[in-house]
């Protein structure tokens, strides 16, 4: 046991081997370094090379990024991932808040409902995707119901746009419970008096929601907006499962991360080009976060 050289004037604990802090931190640092930070740096480096899975690459400058600009698949992927953010985020900011208001009051059985609404969060996205593939099937339950009420059958999984919208609906369905819990925690901090004062002033439920609840949980809404927009832009599994590995009719439903996966893996994978695609994913992800946080600051001033 190494003893401290100087008498400890502070209350800090000093009795430790000089190496032991590193020993404690080593497993974590090693894993994070080798499997997160090193791949991050190597993605940046590879994006300037023509590396393939089995071939070491050479430096090619900005060739990959120039190729991106002329790659139709890239634009389709970027379009779909962007649409995904626009479609999913408003729903995931608003609906879980309404749901949280619904399960907020401690009425009998409410803990059961809260837990039940959370179930889709616990399930694997693969399970959720396959459940909805079956529900939205040409001959599935949703179409059976639609036919029974006289609407007729809808090709949810065969039309390019309906497919994307269905996938978005599944993402929202799976995310509802998660964000509901976040909102519940935030709502617990809204002072009851505010609601009462508004009620005394004759404000209706909708008015109270807009002028009391929303301002009180606004910072949480921004948080949910940031979390869900980043997640939505990186969407992979829902679309992969519902539209298939090739991304639906003529690949028109391919998302950016699906394109990364398709381009960069396997024995013939174009690692360099997929890395350039990944760099776009980074840049947009960071931009989205900054955008949402900045909107928050502007609102506040």
């Amino acid at each position: 046991m190494a003893s401290p050289t100087a008498p400890a004037p502070t209350t800090r604990v000093r009795r430790q081997l000089p190496t032991s802090p590193w020993l404690f931190a080593a497993p974590g640092l090693l894993i994070v370094g080798v499997f997160i930070l090193y791949p991050f740096l190597s993605t940046l480096v590879n994006s300037f090379t023509d590396r393939r899975t089995l071939l070491p690459g050479r430096y090619v400058g900005l060739a990959n990024f120039r190729e991106l600009l002329h790659d139709d698949m890239f634009w389709i992927g970027l379009r779909n991932s962007t649409l995904y953010v626009l479609g999913v985020v408003p729903a995931l900011v608003v609906l879980p808040l309404l749901l949280a208001l619904l399960v907020r009051k401690n009425i009998p059985g409410i803990t059961f409902f809260r837990s039940a609404f959370y179930t889709p969060v616990v399930a694997s996205i693969v399970v959720v995707g396959l459940i909805w593939v079956w529900l939205l099937d040409e001959r599935g339950l949703v179409n059976a119901v639609l036919e029974a009420v006289g609407v007729g059958r809808v090709g949810f999984l065969s039309d390019q746009w309906l497919l994307l919208i269905s996938a978005m609906a599944v993402t929202v369905w799976k995310g509802l419970g998660y964000y509901m819990i976040i909102y519940l925690a935030a709502l617990a901090n809204v002072p009851r008096e505010l609601h009462e004062a508004a009620a005394v002033d004759g404000a209706g439920a909708v008015r109270r929601f807009l002028s009391v609840t929303v301002p009180a949980v606004r910072s949480t809404m921004v948080l949910v907006g940031a979390l869900s927009s980043v997640a939505a832009f990186k969407v992979f599994s829902e679309v992969y499962l519902m539209a298939g590995p090739s991304g639906g009719p003529a690949g028109e439903d391919t998302t950016l991360v699906m394109l990364v996966q398709r381009t960069g893996t396997g024995l013939t994978g174009r690692v360099g080009y997929a890395s350039a695609l990944s760099v776009v994913v980074f840049v947009v992800t960071v931009a989205l976060m900054l955008l949402v946080l900045r909107a928050d600051r502007k609102d506040e001033s």
């Binding site: 930070l37 039940a116 616990v122 399930a123 459940i131 298939g244």
Partner: protein, 299 residues
């Protein structure tokens, strides 16, 4: 469904005589009825699909699963589809693979993040800030953006197409390290100081004093590590290529892609994949909810 105000004095069922909200105020009858109606509607929407899947998996080969109007309950419930799915793909081997990866992920995440979190929160050394920064940066890296490089790294290590390869990248999550760090920081320092004065070394202080005080956070880490590994799809899809080594999620995708026409089989497979987690959730709900709160603050 609701308890109208006027019947209250009567010896009504076993219900509490007044239903109050979280502030002790009474909730009106019609409002309560409307609430329960909405709750049941959302319940049907969130849990209904799982029940439909379960029902489909129990329907026999002669029963029409496409009927309109749909038959919600199987006419002759049978476990036959579960036998058939195991004959079609080695679904129990897949489940075992998933269980191995998920259990190992729990052990490595609990041990790795508790150790590193303790080092960040309690131990003094040069480079502590740098070490903290490493974990913060790692947490911010979007995994989807580095999977290709993770794949090539795994190939260089010769670990692609192995369960170890599935496990390694997430086996000590940066966010878990930071969660544990915060948990240790929130402990009062005096006890550890007292232990130090009594001559306890760093391992004794860690194992006997600090660690038992953060059991709650450790449970959260364990649960999310298990769920994360059990549910993960993209990474195992990339790193595993040999069908005999598939995990359950990849196996289901394979089953769906290859035998897409038999909805009863796919339904049985999904039930096998989701049942353990729903059971886990039912038993340990509060840790699941706590994890959402802590994860969101960090994320």
């Amino acid at each position: 469904m609701s308890v109208p105000d006027r019947v209250r004095p009567a010896p009504a069922a076993n219900r509490p005589p007044r239903v109050t909200d979280e502030h002790g105020r009474r909730v009106r009858g019609w409002e309560l009825a409307l609430r329960y109606l909405l709750l049941l509607a959302v319940l049907a929407l969130t849990v209904g699909p799982f029940l439909w899947q379960l029902s489909t998996s129990l329907k026999g080969p002669t029963e029409d699963i496409y009927s309109s109007p749909p038959g919600f309950l199987p006419a002759h419930p049978t476990l036959h589809n579960y036998e058939r799915v195991a004959q079609t793909v080695p679904v129990w081997d897949y489940a075992l693979n998933s269980l191995k990866v998920a259990s190992a992920n729990v052990v490595t995440n609990c041990a790795g993040s508790a150790l590193a979190g303790y080092a960040l929160a309690r131990l003094r050394y040069r480079g502590r800030r740098a070490a903290t920064l490493v974990f913060v940066l790692a947490m911010l890296v979007p995994v989807e953006g580095i999977i290709i490089a993770q794949f090539t790294t795994m190939r260089e290590l010769g670990l692609n197409n192995t369960l170890i390869g599935v496990l390694l990248p997430g086996c000590v999550g940066a966010m878990n390290v930071l969660l544990m760090r915060n948990a240790f920081l929130n402990l009062p320092y005096e006890i550890e100081e007292a232990a130090y004065v009594d001559g306890a070394d760093v391992w004794q202080r860690f194992l006997r004093i600090a660690l038992p005080s953060v059991k709650g956070t450790l449970a959260v880490v364990a649960i999310f590590a298990f769920m994360g590994a059990w549910d993960d799809f993209l990474w195992p899809l990339i790193v595993l290529s040999d069908p005999s080594r598939f995990t359950l999620t990849i196996g289901l995708n394979y089953l769906h892609g290859t035998f897409a026409n038999d909805e009863r089989l796919v339904a049985a497979g999904t039930v096998i994949a989701v049942a353990p987690l729903i059971a886990l959730f039912a038993c340990l709900q509060r840790y699941f909810f706590r994890g959402v709160g802590e994860g969101a603050v960090k994320g």
